[in-house]
Each structure stands twice: as structure tokens, then as C-alpha cells.
């Protein structure tokens, strides 16, 4: 059985790309193949012009990664000692990297935790220490496997802000593998979706969202005179005019979601509501988020593979 097969993609310098996919899709395998921790049977992996399979050492000088989050650090060492050690075995001395390490400590809001053993930190801070250790190597390419896993809202936000700042200031290429669609949508410009070991989508986040953008509206109405009769009448009329519609009674109001096939259908909808003397309380257009787009793509792939 192949964990991944026929995978091909390229990432530009300074891009922040998300690698998405359900559990077991092959995201981590792809990352580990690039890092040389898993050897692919065939194919070519180039990083910054270096063949990763043939020239492992030069390739590793260009890459760093957080693979198992907080477990990637020594819990008995302090934040600073961890950063210094992992940078050291990458060829960056403490003396040369000191200023940058301090910058990372501030960027990731680890100042108070600088000289505390990692085992005494919360999981959010442990995660940040792991990220700091990877970033301290100053490599042009960084992989972050599930960087926000298990983080609370505040920690996740701060980490995302730090990554965005880093990309803007240093033009580092960052590849994030995550299930946290909110974090991905917030930080990444592009998403590569993997399912069953193959790439099923590779597009910018706005393009991906527009693919699944629909003219779906959620409308809340109350009847005119004789409300019970009015609401049922409205429901009947709307159901007659539109095929893709679902209704829900909310207190004394009727809420329905309708998908419009054409842009002009909104006028038809307004006409139907006016004819029934409906009072429109609220009308909102449903936004497609990355999670929905992801589920749609993966769902399609699964059904194709299942068939």
C-alpha cells in the first residue's frame, strides 16, 4: 500500500502554504519525505535547487521542522537551552545567534519563560518553544506539523500572529500541516489538499473559497396579518418558486435557507415575499469558509475512491 503516490507541487520563496487532509491522508509522510526522514521509493525532491535525496546534508541546511509539537524539545532543559542546542547542532553558535534567539523569544512571547524548564510550561508555551527551536535555525524553509494542535484560543492567535509577522519580515517559506481550518485561513495564502495519498486540490485560499461560493441566503420572516396562516403561505409560495430551500420555525418567525441558481433570482424571491405580505426581519448571505470547501473536496474524493 502506498502512503502517498504521484505527488507533485512547488512552493515559492516566502509563501505560506497549508497542507490539508483528513487523518491518514499522507500530509506528514509528504513532509517527512521532503525532510529525508522517510525515504520515498521514487521521485525527485528539490529544495532551493538542492536534490534532497542525493544531497541530504545541504538540503537539511535549508530546512527545519516541528513534527511532534512539544515532544520535539527536551523538557528538562529551559526554553533558552533548547533553542541554543537545536540551533547549535544546525551549525549556529549561541554567540552568533543570540540576538535572533532573543528576537524569537519576544516574537513568540516567551520572555518570562526564557529560563524555565520546558516541563514546567503549559502546553501552549511548550508548543511555542518547539516552534522557536525550529525557527532559530534560520532556514529558508520551515515545516510546522499541527502547530496549533491543543492550543487555547489565545495561544493559537498569538502563534498565528507571530508566523504572519515572520513571513512578512523574513520572507521565509512556511508549510503548515493542520486540521485547524481557521488558523490556515488566517495565515496561509494557498492550500494543498491531500486525500488518500494524492493531491486533490492545490489553489490559493480565495480561489478555493470562490469555487464553493454559492448564492445561498438565510432569510427570517414574519407573517403579515393572521400569522400562522401567513407563515405557512409564505413557506408554500417559496417552496413552489425555489427547489433548493429548507425551512425552520424559530419562535413566531420562519427562517429559511435558499440557494439561488441565477443572480436575478433574488428579485423573484423578493416578489414572492412581497406577494405574501411577509415582513423580512433579516437577510444574510451565507459565506463559504475553508472548512466547508475542504469537507466538500474531501467528501467528493472519498466518494470517488469508495466507488
Amino acid at each position: 500500500m502506498d502512503a502517498v503516490k504521484d505527488i507533485s507541487f512547488s512552493v515559492d520563496e516566502g509563501e505560506m502554504v497549508a497542507l490539508l487532509g483528513p487523518n491518514g491522508a499522507g500530509k506528514t509522510t509528504i513532509i517527512k519525505c521532503i525532510l529525508g526522514l522517510v525515504r520515498p521509493d521514487s521521485g525527485e525532491i528539490m529544495v532551493d535547487g538542492v536534490d534532497c535525496r542525493r544531497c541530504r546534508s545541504p538540503a537539511l541546511r535549508r530546512m527545519a521542522a516541528v513534527l511532534e509539537g512539544a515532544r520535539n524539545t527536551y523538557w528538562r532543559l529551559t526554553t533558552w537551552e533548547n533553542i541554543s542546542y537545536f540551533a547549535g547542532i544546525h551549525g549556529i553558535s549561541e554567540r552568533r545567534g543570540k540576538e535572533y534567539f532573543e528576537y524569537l523569544i519576544d516574537l513568540l512571547k516567551l520572555r518570562k519563560e526564557r529560563d524555565i524548564e520546558v516541563r514546567n510550561l503549559s502546553s501552549g508555551f511548550k508548543q511555542r518553544v518547539a516552534v522557536a527551536c525550529a525557527l532559530a535555525k534560520k532556514t529558508p524553509l520551515v515545516f510546522l506539523d499541527e502547530p496549533t494542535l491543543g492550543l487555547d484560543v489565545e495561544s493559537s492567535y498569538e502563534l498565528r500572529q507571530a508566523l504572519k509577522k515572520l513571513r512578512a519580515e523574513e520572507r521565509r517559506t512556511i508549510i503548515i500541516s493542520s486540521h485547524d481550518m481557521h488558523a490556515v485561513q488566517d495565515t496561509c495564502q494557498r492550500a494543498i489538499i491531500v486525500s488518500h495519498g494524492q493531491i486533490v486540490a492545490d489553489q490559493t485560499i480565495p480561489d478555493l473559497l470562490s469555487l464553493f461560493a454559492t448564492r445561498k441566503y438565510r432569510i427570517t420572516v414574519t407573517g403579515g396579518s393572521g400569522r400562522e396562516v401567513g407563515l405557512s403561505g409564505i413557506q408554500e409560495a417559496v417552496a413552489l418558486a425555489f427547489s433548493q430551500v429548507s425551512f425552520r420555525q424559530v419562535g413566531e418567525a420562519l427562517e429559511f435557507t435558499v440557494s439561488l441558481a441565477n443572480p436575478g433570482d433574488i428579485y423573484l424571491l423578493v416578489d414572492v415575499l412581497r406577494d405574501r405580505e411577509a415582513v423580512v426581519d433579516a437577510i444574510t448571505r451565507e459565506e463559504v469558509d475553508l472548512e466547508k470547501a475542504f469537507l466538500e473536496i474531501v467528501g467528493r474524493t472519498s466518494s470517488t475512491c469508495g466507488a
Partner: protein, 257 residues
């Protein structure tokens, strides 16, 4: 880059020694007790297996050699098992130097601290008991170092197995018994056994300690196979470790425990 990585590794090990202070002190106390027994005349500790005579010098050198041989053999694999267990193994494999070099840097720290502690204990023992070890260091050190490097070669093979199988502690005991067996082999009766790890080195050490010869007085037919075996076992160790690492990467085993 080597210098930076070596310094970083030593520093990390030093910090770890401090953080696991109880364990560190316990190992030093154990060493102290063993050397105290050596100085107070118990000559059956480990050294007897090496058959290096019953002088204090012989017993002392025998024990140190045996201790370093076992350390060289098992330490690397223990390190790998611990790193895999704690989740840092893959990070170390991402060093551009290659993981085996990081392992050897670790090992060099362990060797240095052990030699330092042995030295300190020996000096303090000499001061308290009035017994002085008269060793021909110029002759003994190269031989002990050669024996250590041979065991390190075996250690790299075991470390390679640990990369793939992770838990191989039970196998260590088999290796220790095998080493004892090798020490007992009479090389005159089985000349082919001189190419086994540690065998020829033990013979040269015996000549130095019991026979009282200087290293340059030893026959080249003894020194040659000893240094040859050292080069051979280190090369075989590195080759086996590299092969095991490649195999572990092919199977995606580095991140597993």
C-alpha cells in the same frame, strides 16, 4: 560547524547532568564504591575477567577497560532509545551533520566525564589510602583507547539496531556475555579469534601490565591486528549504522517508538 555542534552537544549534556542530578550523583557514588573496593584489595571486580594480573595497576586498568568497553557498546543504543521515547530523535536526525555524528559527540562527552571522574576518584583514593597507581600511561592509554573504539564500533551496530527496533536492552546482556567470552578466548589456541573485537587489545594490555613492556616494544604482529581491528570495527560500525538509518528511513521508523 562540527565545533559548534560539539560544543552545543556537550553543553546540552552538561545541563542534563545537572537536571538529573540524583542519577548523576548515584553513578558517581557507584563508581567511588567500586574504586574503593579496588584500592582496599578486592581483586575480583570485573578485572579478573581480563586476567591482567593481581597488582593494583592490573586490577584498576582491567576494571576501567571493562567499564569503557561496556559503555562504548551500550551507551549509543541507550541514547537512541531514550531520544525515540521522548520524541526528539527525528529532530536530531535533521541535523545537517548526520545523526551518527551527534551520537558520537554525545558519546565523547560521556567518555570525557567518566575519565575525569575516574581520575578524580583515583587521586582522592591515593591520597586517603597512600596507595599509588604506577601506570605506564604512554603505553596503556593508546591500548585502552583502541579497545574503547572497538567497542564503540560494536556500539554503533547496536545503535543501528536500536534505530530500527527501538527496544533492544535485552540484547545488551547477550552482547556482554559475548564480550566476556571473547576476553577468555586463549588467542594462542585460537589465533583466528584475534580479529574479534577487544581480543588482541586485551593481549597487548596484558603484555604491558603483566609483562612490563612498553608499547613500542610490543610486536607489530600484535599491534597491527589491534589497530587494524580498531579501524575495522569503527568502519563496520559506521557502515552498519548508516545502513540501519537508511532502512529506518525507508520504513518510516524514525518517528516511532
Amino acid at each position: 560547524m562540527w565545533g559548534i555542534a560539539l560544543k552545543a552537544t556537550w553543553k546540552q549534556n552538561f545541563h542534563m547532568m545537572g537536571r538529573y542530578l540524583f542519577n548523576t550523583l548515584s553513578s558517581f557514588v557507584t563508581m567511588y564504591i567500586v574504586f574503593a573496593l579496588l584500592f582496599y584489595g578486592t581483586k575480583s571486580i570485573g578485572a579478573a575477567t581480563l586476567n591482567l594480573g593481581d597488582t593494583l595497576e592490573g586490577v584498576f586498568t582491567g576494571y576501567v577497560t571493562w567499564m569503557l568497553a561496556i559503555m562504548g557498546c551500550t551507551d549509543l543504543a541507550y541514547t537512541i532509545t531514550n531520544e525515540a521515547q521522548s520524541g526528539t530523535l527525528e529532530q536530531l536526525c535533521l541535523s545537517p551533520l548526520g545523526y551518527w555524528q551527534i551520537l558520537l559527540f554525545n558519546q565523547s562527552f560521556h567518555l570525557l566525564t567518566n575519565v575525569l571522574v575516574i581520575g578524580l576518584i583515583t587521586v582522592s583514593m591515593s591520597l586517603t589510602t597512600g596507595l599509588v597507581i604506577h601506570l605506564d600511561f604512554v603505553s596503556v592509554v593508546p591500548v585502552v583507547l583502541a579497545l574503547y573504539l572497538q567497542s564503540l564500533g560494536l556500539g554503533l551496530v547496536l545503535a543501528g539496531l536500536a534505530l530500527i527496533y527501538k527496544r533492544i536492552q535485552a540484547f545488551f546482556q547477550v552482547v556482554q556475555f559475548a564480550l566476556i567470552g571473547i576476553f577468555f578466548i586463549p588467542l594462542d589456541a585460537f589465533p583466528g579469534a584475534r580479529y574479534l573485537p577487544l581480543a588482541e587489545g586485551r593481549k597487548v594490555l596484558q603484555q604491558v601490565l603483566v609483562g612490563g613492556i612498553r608499547i613500542w616494544q610490543a610486536r607489530w604482529t600484535d599491534l597491527g591486528p589491534m589497530f587494524g581491528a580498531t579501524a575495522l570495527y569503527i568502519s563496520v560500525g559506521v557502515a552498519c549504522f548508516t545502513m540501519a538509518e537508511n532502512r529506518a528511513r525507508s520504513r518510516g521508523l524514525l518517528g516511532q517508538y
